[in-house]
């Protein structure tokens, strides 16, 4: 290839990269890793004619917002709100993002969000730091690493930002103002008790856990074991753990079912492990001609799990209030920015749960939104105080 040809080729390649990056970048100059949830509401004076339930009876004017007859007054016209989720996942897209969209419609604020490329604290730190450098100062963050997230939160506080941790607990001491998440212990405990009811209060259970180094997994394991301890005729025949991917969960659960041919129930208390359980059970019933029903309880509302409930091989799943996490976190951040402070620093606000089975799989979202409205109504009385 001649020298000139090489130069032209290099120029074309460079132009392609530049044009490609320009096309990927958004018009408002925010990160390429996420789109704004609702670009229709660009200012807090916009009409809140959203299709989401809570927005129907709301209106906002200037920095005053009226929702269901309740008036909210905020000091600023615009808040630099930002949400981070560690990696692409349907729970975020289908639930948390819906909550953010509901908030945007109700409060007329715009929320930027970013989704990490991989579930690591390193990627989370880099992305959030870049967003902070762009001027965002109110963050709702799912801590990718329950130990490492606190370092990021502390750093953001030192830079004058407000932080809400959501989705899961992080290790003590808490460096975020509040945590909005389900009570994983209660969920695991209640889910196990319900599973044992199906089993007729006797038999053996396979307990499926995720990352053993995660404080949430430890609490879930405790919840399952405490519930089982209340029933003398029920025992855990095997615990499988350290499941980081759906495929790993699928393989390990398949092996555990084979190792325990007389097992009566199976419980998964993490979202990824639950998808693995769903795939493993689907495979089990399809390939084992003499398969008997194994009672199964899972976590979260993934497609795999919901398909399992519809098909009858999963008996229930514990639905988390992702909508509430997305909605309430942003309301709290606006308060915090206005100078309100938590009544108890680092307090865990339980966003609630709903047991989803074949009977309510079409209607459970209404129950979740009712819980959200209840929590929002207690912000000034139970969660925050004037600073």
């Amino acid at each position: 290839m001649k020298k000139n040809h090489k130069r032209i080729l290099a120029l074309v390649c460079a132009l392609t990269i530049v044009l490609g990056l320009a096309a990927c970048a958004k018009e408002d100059g925010t990160t390429a890793s996420g789109d704004t949830a609702n670009t229709e509401n660009t200012t807090n004076t916009a009409d809140t004619s959203s299709s989401d339930g809570a927005a129907e009876n709301s209106e906002s004017a200037g920095n005053t917002v009226t929702l269901d007859g309740v008036t909210w007054e905020f000091q600023q016209d615009e808040y630099k709100l930002c949400c981070y989720w560690p990696s692409p996942d349907e729970f975020f897209d289908n639930y948390v993002l819906k909550g953010i969209e509901g908030f945007e419609a109700d409060f007329g604020q715009e929320v930027e969000y970013a989704v990490g490329t991989e579930w690591t604290q390193n990627v989370e730190n880099q992305t959030v730091e870049a967003l902070a450098a762009q001027g965002y100062d109110c963050f709702m963050i799912f801590g990718a690493d329950t130990a490492g997230a606190n370092g990021l939160y502390e750093e953001l506080y030192n830079a004058g930002c407000q932080v809400i941790n959501y989705g899961g607990l992080v290790n003590d001491p808490q460096e975020s103002a509040l945590t909005l998440a389900s009570d994983v212990y209660v969920q695991a405990y209640e889910s196990t008790k319900k599973l044992i009811e199906y089993m007729g209060e006797e038999g053996t259970i396979i307990n499926v856990l995720e990352n053993l180094g995660d404080v949430n997994t430890v609490k879930r394991q405790q919840g399952v074991e405490d519930a089982v301890a209340e029933y003398p005729n029920v025992s855990i025949c095997q615990t499988v753990a350290d499941i980081k991917t759906v495929d790993e969960g699928y393989t390990k659960v398949s092996d555990a079912i084979t190792a325990n041919p007389d097992v009566t129930g199976i419980i998964a208390t993490g979202g990824t492990a639950s998808k693995g359980v769903a795939n493993a059970l689907s495979d089990y019933y399809a390939t084992k001609s003499d398969a008997t029903h194994i009672f199964a309880a899972t976590q979260d509302q993934s497609t795999e799990v919901m398909n399992g409930i519809a098909a009858g091989y999963i008996d229930h799943t514990i639905g988390q209030n992702g909508y509430g996490m997305g909605y309430i976190s942003n309301v709290l951040l606006m308060y915090l920015k206005d100078g309100w402070v938590p009544q108890n620093w680092g307090e865990h606000i339980d966003t609630g749960m709903v047991v989803i089975n074949k009977d309510n799989m079409e209607t459970y979202q209404e129950e979740i939104e009712a819980v959200t409205n209840e929590i929002v109504s207690t912000i000034e009385t139970d969660i925050l105080k004037q600073g």
Binding site: S87, P88, D89, E90, F92, D93, T117, L209, L212, Q238, T239, V240, A241, D242, K244, T245, V246, D247, E248, Y250, T251, K252, S254, D255, A256, T258, A259, N260, P261, K275, A278, N279, S282, D283, A286, T287, K288, S302, T303, E304
Partner: protein, 335 residues
């Protein structure tokens, strides 16, 4: 002459002195993998009731078969002294494209399978072309391309799972006599690879390039073409593995392939395939896939302490590969 390694043939033994069949076996590079399989089989079947159950053997055969296809993706570049760090990323991209074609475009199973494998092939052509033209290490190129393929995969899917065509899971779940359809596919694949490397000129050219690329080029072999061919085959195997995995699990998500890279290297290494190129042993490769599958399965069957499971896994793999070191010492003494 075939370049398939056979240390026994290369040994300078005095004329007329014949080795016993057992000694001849231990001169073969795959013998340590066979011994490891026998030992693992003995340990796991003695220590657990269900390991040799028909259903577990069926499951084992399916998992080992898919691992073999994943390892074949690495094997095809390892034989020329290369590597493919994008094995999992191509698997992820293939899974997502397959899901898109089935769920969002309503394509039938056959055209979807063909296009998915072709897409895998295109990924391999791109890898091979870049390695040839940029004259950079395969490590760098395939690492960079793994980010590209993963990024496209996640960008298209947003982490959402796909619904597969009805009946697509039959291949991954079908039982054939005492074994699975996937196992039969695995055997066919290993036999095809054996014929390719032992009896076809192009296969011998590949091994020659892996043995010494400069010498191969001087003898008239087009090294660049071999490089592209091997990278293409590598990514096509990754795409096939993705199809088989989706067929077995009944689900297609972008997270498929996230742990394939390490497995692909491990199976080749355990099976006695030198990662710096130039050799292929069909039996070793076959055994490598089974060893890794049996260890993981056996640990769950034995209900080992969950907190130490990774440590057990590492120790058993180490013991299995240590047999190769022992075999080499024995082979040296026999010389």
């Amino acid at each position: 002459m075939s370049k398939v390694t056979n240390e026994a043939r290369q040994t300078n033994r005095p004329a007329g002195k014949q080795l016993s069949p057992l000694k001849r076996f231990f001169m073969e590079p795959y013998s340590s993998a066979v011994v490891a399989i026998v030992l693992l089989l003995a340990v796991f079947s003695i220590s657990t009731d269900s390991f040799l159950s028909q259903y577990n053997l069926f499951n084992l055969s399916r998992t080992a078969s898919i691992y073999a296809f994943i390892a074949a993706a690495q094997l095809m570049v390892a034989v020329i002294g290369g590597m493919n760090l994008a094995v999992g990323a191509v698997g992820s991209l293939s899974t997502v494209l397959m899901g898109e074609m089935m769920q969002n475009y309503g394509w039938g199973t056959v055209p979807t399978v063909i296009v998915t494998i072709l897409v895998g092939g295109i990924c391999g052509v791109i890898n091979g072309f870049l390695i040839n033209k940029l004259k950079l290490q395969p490590f760098v190129i395939t690492l960079a391309m793994s980010f590209v393929y993963n990024g496209i995969s996640v960008g298209i899917s947003h982490g959402m799972p796909y619904e597969l065509n009805e009946g697509f899971d039959a291949l991954g779940r079908q039982q054939v006599g005492p074994t699975s359809m996937l196992f039969i596919l695995m055997v066919i694949m290993v036999v095809v690879l054996l014929i390719f490397f032992r009896y076809l000129r192009v296969g011998r050219d590949v091994l020659a390039v892996g043995g010494n690329a400069t010498a191969a080029a001087l003898s008239g072999i087009k090294v660049d073409r071999v490089n592209i061919l091997c990278n293409t085959a590598s990514c096509m195997f990754a795409a096939i593995a993705a199809l088989l995995w989706a067929s077995r699990s009944g689900s297609a998500t972008s997270t498929t392939g996230s742990d394939w890279m390490l497995y692909s290297f491990a199976i080749c290494a355990i099976g006695g395939i030198r990662l710096n190129g130039g050799n292929f042993t069909a039996i070793g490769f076959f055994c490598g896939a089974w060893i890794l599958t049996m260890i993981r399965n056996g640990l769950t069957m034995m209900n080992v302490d969950i907190y130490y499971e990774q440590a057990f896994l590492g120790v058993i793999i180490l013991l299995a590969v240590s047999l190769e070191s022992l075999r080499l010492k024995m082979a040296e003494q026999m010389k």
